[in-house]
């Protein structure tokens, strides 16, 4: 057997050796690679990845060549017929564990059950920048398809050689290569037996065309669905290690506060409690969670507070601290605003304000950290396991291979878990305690010390001709971010600027990023312009729109909703809004009802049309769109982080309202399947039309043109009462 292996190494070397002068290192690396994975065949996106991954100290040439790429993965076909996909992407509820397995099953012609997905483990999977920006489907998906197709081509070659027949006499089905001449078959495992073949992904493989998909394109059920409904799945917060302690961190009372005096003696005196103080970080580890909480309470501490912004003055603060937006990310300039405004028959300027909102994932941040023989292993729920590995390596001054980050499927993120705060905190405590430590953030900590979707001020000024043609569009976004800042409408004169601000609260990514704010403003302004020139809002949009994919979703949503077919009932209103984000195109129509007595606003129904190329899993796509709609309702209607002088005032579900069963209207989802277009991610884009559609429906019902998000945290009473 050993001999056979050597032969294989040699023949394969000729095909895919990275460079002629490190062939020996190459084969030793490969042996180590397969020692880890088991024999068989493996296809990797980039060959160097496999060696960089081994961190082979003798193989520095390869290590240096290996620059981190956006995506990395390999597929391994074992001698036991088990197919394992190793990817740095992670599962946070967007169902990529299922959809990525589907595309591999498709190209390899194997049943779903034969595929195991190993995800987000820095020791087992190649580098990946992270799971965000809806990149998994468009970037990882096609690469995995190619890798699977490459593997299949290898298997066919090997079978043809073994049987001494032409490849054209072979076909693949159900994980087997079948010789059509004599109906003999070999399983993938049998073909790969005794081999250690490593090959780089080939760009020349032919992929199954979308029309021929049998597994991809269908509603394969969630692969680990049963574990979730039986409570068997272990989230990070469910994990235990032998001898594990429970950690807790002392939190400052507000942003910008620093330690003045501290007395740790009472906490230190508690049996079994380890207390750690490093600068402003104070934490404890205790044999159980209640003791850890008691130990934190026993710490006597006073703080130096500084003057910090409040929600009441945040928008002034953002304007005052804004930087110049010229040349900033997303900024664009076209034609001349002066000319555009001169050419306009009607002009409209407005200022919009958008609050900070929280992701509030149901599973708060959590980590289990363990030090063993100088190596740190941390289980944590993060969208960037390799980023957290970097953070830990630099924090503890360790080489990266001494840090392993493992990400079990996690209780959601929505763009809110790019960071690794809990991981670093747990590792600090575990290091001091010399025992594994679990740290689970409380809901209050999650609402306070995680990061928020940015607050922002957006100023827009625009001009339009009486016939409804836009002439001018000037758009300034202060702090909320550049995503979705460009207008999809045709305007000859534009000035678009994003002005970053040093945010007083932690802020970061969100579902759809800043486009929830930018498209809200864009589509609100479009509605007000339509009304200024007495045009139907849909007609006005279509008149100024060229992008056929966006047009198509507007038309599909309008058709499903019955736009223009009926007039809303008294105190009801219809509204429309849409846009494009991350290669997804979305449009939403909403019907709302206002109670003229109380000013309460109720969402009656929502129709959302969405298109993101070829659909990989219709049922899961539908679910993602649904999730975006429901989350969008919260941000549209009532979600806002309240704070005063740097202190968060509503860090509980009792005060920070999130959408519940009762808030959910009748929802119709229309998906357009563009089999001719590459698949894009769907977790984010469908959120962007919700807030403007609702806002415009409120305007339709009442004439009140709201300019803030959330729109109606306290209903419309104040607006309706105004003269």
């Amino acid at each position: 057997m050993k001999k056979e292996t050597d032969t294989d190494i040699k023949s394969n070397q000729e095909q895919s050796q990275p460079s002629p002068d490190n062939g020996n290192q190459f084969s030793s690396s490969r042996r180590r690679f397969f020692k880890l994975l088991g024999g068989g065949i493996a296809v990797t996106f980039v060959l160097q990845d496999a060696f960089a991954f081994l961190a082979d100290p003798e193989n520095t040439a390869v290590l240096q060549q290996a620059s981190p790429k956006e995506v990395g993965a390999w597929i391994h076909i074992g001698e036991n017929d088990v197919i394992t996909v190793y990817t740095g992407k992670v599962e946070v509820g967007q169902n990529i564990r299922t959809s990525l397995a589907q595309v591999v099953a498709e190209e390899l012609h194997v049943p779903m059950a034969s595929i195991t997905m190993v995800m987000g483990d820095t020791d087992l999977t190649p580098y990946d920048a992270g799971t965000f920006g809806s990149r998994s489907t468009p970037s990882m998906g096609p690469q995995l398809r190619k890798a699977a197709a490459t593997a299949q081509a290898m298997l066919l070659d090997m079978a043809a050689e073994q049987w001494k027949v032409n490849i054209s006499a072979l076909r693949v089905a159900d994980g087997k290569v079948i010789n059509t001449k004599n109906n003999k078959s070999l399983s993938f495992g049998q073909i790969s037996k005794g081999k250690q073949l490593l090959k780089e992904i080939s760009d020349n493989t032919s992929l199954t065309p979308t029309e021929k998909w049998r597994v991809a394109g269908t509603s394969v059920p969630k692969v680990n669905g049963r574990d979730l409904i039986t409570g068997r799945h272990k989230f990070v917060s469910d994990l235990k290690q032998p001898g594990m302690l429970y950690g807790k961190v002392l939190r400052a009372p507000a942003f910008g506060a620093s330690l003045a005096t501290v007395d740790l003696s009472a906490a230190k005196a508690m049996p079994g409690v380890v207390v750690v103080q490093e600068d402003d970080f104070i934490g404890v580890a205790a044999p159980d969670a209640p003791t850890a909480a008691k130990a934190i309470e026993a710490i006597e501490v006073s703080w130096n507070k500084t003057q910090q912004p409040s929600r009441s003055n945040i928008f002034d603060y953002l304007k005052q601290h804004a930087t110049d937006g010229r040349g900033g990310r997303g900024s664009a300039e076209k034609g001349s605003i002066a000319q555009g405004m001169a050419a306009a028959d009607k002009k409209l300027a407005a200022t919009y304000k958008v609050d900070y909102i929280a992701h509030a994932p149901m599973e708060p941040r959590a980590a289990v950290a363990q030090w063993e023989n100088g190596k740190l292993t941390v289980w944590t729920g993060t969208q960037r396991p390799f980023g957290v590995q970097d953070d830990l390596a630099s924090k503890f001054n360790l080489p990266k291979e001494k840090v392993r980050v493992i990400m079990p499927d996690t209780g959601s993120a929505y763009g809110g878990k790019h960071s690794g705060e809990a991981a670093v905190e747990a590792a600090r405590l575990a290091k001091a305690a010399q025992k594994p430590v679990k740290l689970t953030w409380t809901r209050e900590e999650e609402f306070t010390w995680a990061y928020f979707r940015p607050a922002g001020v957006i100023e827009v000024s625009s001009g339009v001709k009486n016939d409804g043609i836009l002439t001018s569009w000037e758009f300034h976004n202060y702090n909320s971010g550049p995503s979705g800042i460009r207008t999809p409408y045709e305007v000859p004169n534009q000035q678009i600027q994003y002005h970053p601000v040093e945010s007083p609260l932690y802020q970061g990514s969100y579902r759809g990023l800043a486009s929830t704010a930018n498209i809200f403003v864009l589509e609100s302004q479009m509605d007000d312009l339509a009304s200024l020139v007495n045009m139907d809002p849909l007609e006005f949009r279509l008149k100024n729109l060229q992008e056929p994919r966006l047009k198509a979703v507007f038309e599909a949503a309008a058709k499903g909703f019955g736009w223009g077919k009926t007039k809303p009932a008294p105190n009801h209103g219809y509204g429309i809004g849409g846009g494009t984000e991350k290669a997804g195109f979305t449009a939403t129509c909403a019907e709302i009802a206002v109670d003229p007595g109380t000013g309460d606003v109720k969402i009656v129904r929502i129709t959302t049309a969405f298109e993101c190329g070829a659909i990989i899993n219709p049922e899961h796509l539908d679910n993602q769109i649904l999730g975006a709609i429901v989350q969008g309702l919260g941000g549209a209607l009532f979600e806002a982080v309240d704070f005063e002088n740097g202190k968060i005032l509503n860090p509980h579900f009792a005060q920070y309202r999130v959408p519940r069963f009762k808030d959910t209207p009748a929802i119709e989802i229309i998906t357009l399947n563009r089999k001719d277009l590459p698949s894009a991610g769907a977790g984010e884009a469908p959120i962007v039309g919700i807030a403007p559609a609702i806002r415009n429906a409120i305007a339709d019902a009442t004439g009140v043109r709201l300019k803030t998000l959330p729109l109606v945290p306290d209903g419309l009473k104040a607006n309706l009462g105004a003269p």
Binding site: S219, L228, G231, D409, G627, V630, Q631, F661
Partner: protein
């Protein structure tokens, strides 16, 4: 103190005012019940106490004496899922699934007392359970399906 969970009697060492959720998860390693808020606001920790849905994060150990507790781990009988679980699986409801155990226990309690609930009754009963992934209409669909099973 003693605790009856899923038909088994346990002796636990926690103080009487400790929350049931803590005892289940940390002492008995029944981690199916989840922490989502610790304040009775999200339903992730829902278990049955003598057949009624309670938020285990708000139930002190002392209040469980002499009562039968059922957790998500106790629903499946010899590999046979509860009809609510079957229906949820069938409708392929969940995204991250963190809310799932609490949702299921709430739904099971509903169907115990009201085997054929209307949509309004489902919504009213389930309103204390948060699914931040927003799968509500699918959950309602699955509960209806289970009630017709």
């Amino acid at each position: 103190m003693e605790l009856q969970v899923n038909g088994i009697k346990h002796t636990v060492s926690a103080w009487s005012e400790t929350s049931l959720l803590y005892v289940l998860r940390d002492e008995l390693d029944l981690t199916g019940s989840k922490y989502g808020c610790g304040e009775g606001q999200c339903g992730a920790c829902t278990v049955l106490m003598d057949g009624k849905a309670v938020r285990s994060c708000r139930v002190p150990l002392s209040a469980t004496q002499g009562k039968q507790i059922t957790t998500i781990e106790g629903l499946e009988k010899e590999g046979q899922l509860h009809p609510v679980q079957e229906a949820l699986l069938n409708v392929d409801v969940f995204q991250c699934g963190y809310c799932a155990p609490g949702m299921i226990m709430s739904a099971v309690a509903l169907l115990e007392t009201n085997p054929q609930p209307s949509e309004e009754e489902i919504v009213a009963h389930m309103n204390g359970n948060v699914c931040r992934c927003g799968t509500y209409p699918r959950i309602v669909r699955a509960i209806k399906e289970a009630s017709n099973a």
